[in-house]
Amino acid sequence: MSLGRLLRRASSRASDLLTLTAGGSGGSPAVLDGEIIYSKNNVCVHPPEGLQGLGEHHPGYLCLCMEKDELLGATLILAWVPNSRIQRQDEEALRYITPESSPVRKAPRHRCRRIPSSGAPHQPSPTEPRPSLMPKEEDILVVAQSIQEAVHISASPDDGEKLALDAGADGPLPASQAAHRDSGVLSTVGSQDGVEEGREPRPEAGEEEGSWELSADGVSRDSSFDSDSDAFSSPFCLSPISAALAEGSSSALMDSEGSSPSSSDTTLRFPDSNGLLQTSRWDEAQRGWAPEQICGVFRVDLGHMRSLRLFFSDEACTSGQLVVASRESQYKVLHFHHGGLDKLCEVFQQWKFCTESHLEDQVASERTCVQFSIRRPKLPSCEAHPEESLYRRLDVPAWLQHLNELGQVEEMYKLRQAIFFGGIDVSIRGEVWPFLLRYYSHESTSEEREALRVQKRKEYLEIQQKRLSMTPEERGAFWRNVQFTVDKDVVRTDRSNEFFRGEDNPNVESMRRILLNYAVYNPAIGYSQGMSDLVAPLLAEVQDESDTFWCFVGLMQNTIFVSSPRDEDMEKQLLYLRELLRLTHPRFYQHLAALGEDGLQMLFCHRWLLLCFKREFPEAEALRIWEACWAHYQTDYFHLFICVAIVAIYGDDVIEQQLATDQMLLHFGNLAMHMNGELVLRKARSLLYQFRLLPRIPCSLHELCKLCGTGMWDSGYMPAVECAGHHPGSEGCPYGGTVEMPSPPAPREGKRGPKTPREGFGFRR
């Protein structure tokens, strides 16, 4: 019997029980502890960037077990075990993914009652999991279903809505899956989907072919897992005090590298899971090397989480991310690249219904912390930017169509539009970016560009010469103000990018020279930390040092806010962002305002603005965002719409939990690299579209419409401007009468005074 079949068999009972509960049969149902009601393989964890040597994807096996819970009736235990652990036949890991009812579990086992054991691993019998390998392309989707294993099942026909967990019912699951299932073979689902996102899902592909089996005796035990296991299986514990008192609070710090044995006399103890950011502790046990820490076994009681959120990333709403948030704002993001999230969603909805109906009988004051929400990638069509799906990624043929025979860009506006919506194919970024960054004029011919490059290279070398021929005094000052920091920063910038990896990498040296030369070229700005983050991707795409330098010059000019030496520029950005939030997301704005000045400083988004989201999204997505901003399509402030989009998509917790300033920083900081860039971009485009539909805007946002030109129209876009009040140092609203509108009488309603009613700003979210 296959493992999958076995799991399903076991699951069916649990789901029946779940239904029973939901059906309102009252009382506490006989919940079978440990019943697996959902499982899915190749659910990925992505380690944060910057950890070298780690693949981008760490696939693992996820399952949900049901467990009795006094308060909730039934709670769900979520466990995720990395494939690497399974391949190592790690008992502790396997224990989490073996159903409680599995015969292998009943078998006596020395030491640990739950350790799966089986007889002869190489002679599978119906009562034990077949030692079938888990091919890497294969996706097993096992969803609880009733015991008769019908294809379309409503667990209890009379209240079908309550449990419709039939795996074959919808989504991308082909009918053949049902056949597979009946034959008891591991069902293979979506094997082609694996590559669809253009990511290579599994770095350690080759190794995964190895078969694994739930064998008891042949298991090679790594002694360290023994001790790990306590950390894994101890209940996820949230109270600092009880955690502090908990046994075995084997200090993560003291254990790591045996650093501080001397401190034991101070009773230095670091309790489990109560530091807000003890991610590693939260995610898994502490020992071992980095991947083990970041991508180790993860196991929590979902009934004690603060929120569960599902972010669907595909149109069909089967793939995406599950974000689990603890009550202390720690996050775990599990990526479903190959579908199955829709089924999980159903399980959650079912469970939520069960627990809620159960809770009705309980004391009302006791409440579960779990909030559950679902984000689908589709924005209602009335919201989406109408041009949303008209553009594909700009690839070579498409790019060539934008050029005439002389190599001039025929219509820059069209090119910008295409890039804004579709992005640029990686292969031609280095060629197209110089246009967006205004190094090349779009009117230039190929020949002219070549001439320009030659001339600019000469200029670049002159700048470099200037740097190298400083007087000793100048050089000392330069070293102190610029070079010292540049030297420290270049080696720690984008280290995870192949292009900059390794010691004495010449590309790092190029990056260093560009930054130093820039500081000579523009001494007013000099070097600000973060500039290395901005120049690194340019260099990696454009490659040529001189060209990169001039692109960087363009970047600095066009996005002065990014590395501005002046506070005013940042202040201006924040002011616009606050106003935009007030307009589009008033609840969030009110929350900030309630926090006072500190809240309105919006510390959580400073890095977003300063680095243009570089550290908030994986590089591929971050660069898409850069391109969309650089396109200057319909606004020069698209980055602010991105900010609002992030808040709109990921900010609900902030409002619901009334997070304070520092907590907000933590909240969004933890989400870095775990947000869905495409979804954010779509949302931002939608926000821009809606913004431009507004008949009136507050004068504080006047600038947002001003600079980016008329596009293909004869006239610029400028809605009526309404004074929002507050113009210290000037009589009346400076924008009321100064709206630049080339064509017919600008309808304007300025000077309404500070008490302008807000109802004109209807904004759909």
Binding site: L253, S260, S528
Partner: protein, 233 residues
């Protein structure tokens, strides 16, 4: 071996255990190892190529000190602060600060002294300040020149900071002082523990009934001294 959830859930505070919550800020020149110290303290990790901090980061760590649970709310700041008007916001209301320098580089020590001065002038009057001479694993390079440099620079730079010199400065200014190494973990926990010991723990704070729930300003805010520094709006 612990059971699988279910039975064993947190049971709330035990009697007699106090909880204290303190805001701590890290300040110092860029690339002296502020983030690395925090990362070592909070996660027990060290990254050779820790990326530069842009803006600020916020982390927490809880330690037990005798019968008291001390929760540090740690603000890790950017060494090269581009958005200057914010600096006071980081240390405003902080009960503790760690000012970090790099023992192989005197300039970072000078910068540290400036931070100490600013804190003494503008932060809460009772703030506990610790001085951390980081990169102590490079102590062997303290005496020798640590990087080949044109000789005109060696006068300005990389004359390293002597332990005694820093200790004397710390004594004069009533600072805690330790040489630390985020890389080897030397004195990292110790400096935080020393701060924890020195902080006043009189009034029991915020019984941790709802961690992560609504929590206003710091409970023990002694004096928001530098509010006037805030940017205009």
């Amino acid at each position: 071996m612990a059971g699988r959830g279910g039975a064993a859930r947190p049971n709330g505070p035990a009697a007699g255990n106090k909880i204290c919550q303190f805001k701590l800020v890290l300040l110092g020149e860029s690339a002296v190892g502020k983030s690395s110290l925090v990362l070592r303290f909070v996660k027990g990790q060290f990254h050779e190529y820790q990326e530069s901090t842009i803006g600020a980061a916020f982390l927490t760590q809880t330690v037990c000190l005798d019968d008291t649970t001390v929760k540090f709310e740690i603000w890790d700041t950017a060494g090269q602060e581009r958005y200057h008007s914010l600096a006071p916001m980081y240390y405003r209301g902080a009960q503790a600060a760690i000012v970090v320098y790099d023992i192989t580089n005197t300039d970072t020590f000078a910068r540290a002294k400036n931070w100490v001065k600013e804190l003494q002038r503008q932060a809460s009057p009772n703030i506990v300040i610790a001085l951390a001479g980081n990169k102590a694993d490079l102590a062997s390079k303290r005496a020798v020149e640590f990087q080949p440099l044109p000789h005109f620079l060696s006068i300005l730079f990389l004359a390293s900071v002597g332990n005694q010199e820093a200790q004397a400065y710390a004594d004069d200014n009533s600072l805690l002082f330790m040489e630390t190494s985020a890389k080897t973990a030397m004195n990292v926990n110790e400096i935080f523990m020393a701060i924890a010991k020195k902080l006043p723990k009189n009034e029991p704070q915020n019984a941790a009934g709802a961690p992560g729930g609504t929590r206003g300003v710091n409970l023990q805010e002694s004096n928001p001294a530098s509010r006037s520094q805030c940017c205009s709006n």
